[in-house]
Amino acid sequence: MSAALALGDDALVLSHRLGEWAGHAPVLEEEVALANIALDLLGQARVLLSLVGDEDELAYLREERAFRNLQLVEQPNGDFAHTIARQLYFSVYQHLLYERLAAGDGEFAPLAAKAVKEVAYHRDHAEQWVLRLGDGTEESHRRMQAGLDALWRFTGEMFQPVDGLDGPPSGVDREELRSRWLAAVADVVERATLTLPTGPQSGGWAAGAGRQGLHTEPFGRMIAEMQHLHRSHPGASW
């Protein structure tokens, strides 16, 4: 599996989910912020997919089993707290990963160096909202905890090795990534007066399922919507 495909699919799929918020956000400033994050991720996806082939062929003409994204990013938006929990888990991971890649001399270093600035903003946005929702009202506390709990079982996949990224000479150390991720997430969760979930990080799934093209049911419906128009006009350019 190509590492660019894995990273590109993560960004593409999460961007799509965030795009579903347009016109539905709880406050106008969040319309701007969520679209901003979605755009950053879409920009990253386009660069990464272009390293593999034609970005549109890859986005619009692959079937579900050929996507290599994490199951975490394909999870439906749920309520705002659910979306923010997904953002926290993913953007802390992506930030740590891209910092590492940017510091190395691998093929992703230049891309990661640019993206890491965007991702630092995404991470800050997610952390600030976890604090506000966790330490806001009783209801927001309950919803934020529910979001963190529901998505916890999809977090283990982030720490499965990806060919081309992991191992020597300049690769990512997943165990180090996991411990740094856990420390960062635990810190925010604690400051937000919330509890770090304790269940298994991979639920009933084989480790690294999404990376192998094994996805959850909502994903097929998501890409059906995403691909429908493009597939209806074979060979057309837009």
Binding site: G19, G23, P26, V27, N36, L229
Partner: protein, 362 residues
């Protein structure tokens, strides 16, 4: 320079003890007559204030409701490039709504109150957004025609007599022109594409042309606010004048696009030096204004739902801000409750996000 002028006017109107109502009116009239700007602290007639609040609120609401027909296609955009353009555009619209609510707040209105009025159906938004986006080409038709009509309407507002509105329009028009070119380019790609794509583009233009002409408002002889707004220099041109200007701009653009405007009566009038065009179906316009357009209910319902379902998020942000507000020092404990004030403040990450947006689109 505008600020200096405003301060001078303030001194002129409020600086002397003998200032009378007649002096205030005279100073206001002189400012408007000299094509200078009225600023928030200046005296202004109550009706001028009310008209501006109404118009700016309606304008802001149109940006917010106008996100819906386009956002309808974000998840189905047919290429990643088009998807990025569309997301950026919808994001810009939210930003425009924010500028305009801020400008309206300089007149003493509050954003929350204006949104409540929108949700209650007591303030309007542009009738155009009550039409559905049925195909991808509609996204292009909205960019070309709807944004084009908006720009034709809004460029003169950059010289509007009320300073904060005029300045908001300068920023907004820059971004809108960009969107309009992108919409035109989208339609051009379809028009030159496959037969099915060309047909899709033509169908979209057929459906959006007449509603776009209606965006300029009722004909001059039936426009209730026009005369006063023109006297106050809020408005610079009549509805019919702007509509004609728009038709003159669109005819050659349609030719260049290779698409037809759905009006057999459009022809060049040599004598008047402009295009004649067919009669607008004003009964349809009236129905849409009354709430009977294809999407009126859906648009307001979605807006209300987003607002209601987001209430707990806004409450959480306010509660968090109140808990984490700086504690008042003992010496100032009798001052107005800081918790109340800070609960109304917007959380910092949000302001950060919109500041960043402005940077990127500037």
């Amino acid at each position: 320079m505008a600020a200096v002028t405003a301060d001078q006017k303030t001194q002129k109107t409020f600086g002397t003890a003998e200032t009378t109502d007649a002096d205030l009116v005279a100073a206001f009239d002189a400012t408007v007559a000299a094509d200078e700007r009225i600023e928030p602290r200046d005296w202004m007639p109550d009706a001028y204030r009310a008209t501006l609040i109404r118009q700016m609120a309606q304008h802001a609401h149109s940006e917010i409701i106008g996100m819906q027909p386009e956002a309808n296609w974000i998840t189905r955009a047919p290429s990643l490039r088009r998807k990025a353009i569309l997301m950026a555009k919808v994001q810009d619209e939210a930003g425009h709504g924010l500028y305009l609510y801020s400008a309206a707040e300089t007149l003493g209105a509050s954003r929350d109150e204006l949104l409540d009025k929108l949700h209650a159906g007591r303030q309007r938004y542009s009738s155009i957004f009550n039409y559905p986006t049925l195909t991808w080409a509609d996204v292009g038709a909205i960019g070309w025609l709807v944004d084009g009509a908006a720009i034709t309407n809004q460029v003169p507002l950059c010289r509007c007599s009320y300073g904060p509105y005029a300045r908001a329009m300068v920023r907004i028009c820059k971004e809108e022109s960009f969107h309009q070119r992108q919409g035109y380019e989208l339609l051009l790609a379809l028009s030159r594409g496959t037969e099915a794509q060309h047909a899709m583009a033509q169908d979209a233009v057929n459906r959006w042309w007449w509603p776009s002409l209606m965006m300029f408002g009722p004909p001059d002889d039936a426009s209730s606010h026009s005369e006063q707004s023109m006297a106050w220099k809020i408005k610079r041109h009549s509805n019919d004048e702007l509509r004609r200007r728009f038709v003159d701009i669109c005819v050659p653009q349609a030719e260049a696009l290779g698409l037809e405007l759905p009006d057999p009566d459009i022809r060049w009038n040599e004598e008047l030096g402009r295009h004649d065009f067919g009669a607008i179906d004003w009964s349809e316009f009236q129905e849409v204004l009354k709430g009977n357009g294809p999407c009126n209910e859906q648009r307001i319902a979605q807006r209300r739902t987003a607002h209601e379902e987001g209430a707990w998020v806004r409450e959480a942000a306010a509660a968090y801000a109140a808990k984490h507000a700086p504690k008042p020092s003992p010496s100032s404990s009798s001052a107005a409750a800081p918790a109340t004030a800070s609960a109304r403040d917007k959380p910092s990450a949000r302001t950060g996000a919109s500041a960043r947006h402005e940077e990127e689109t500037a």
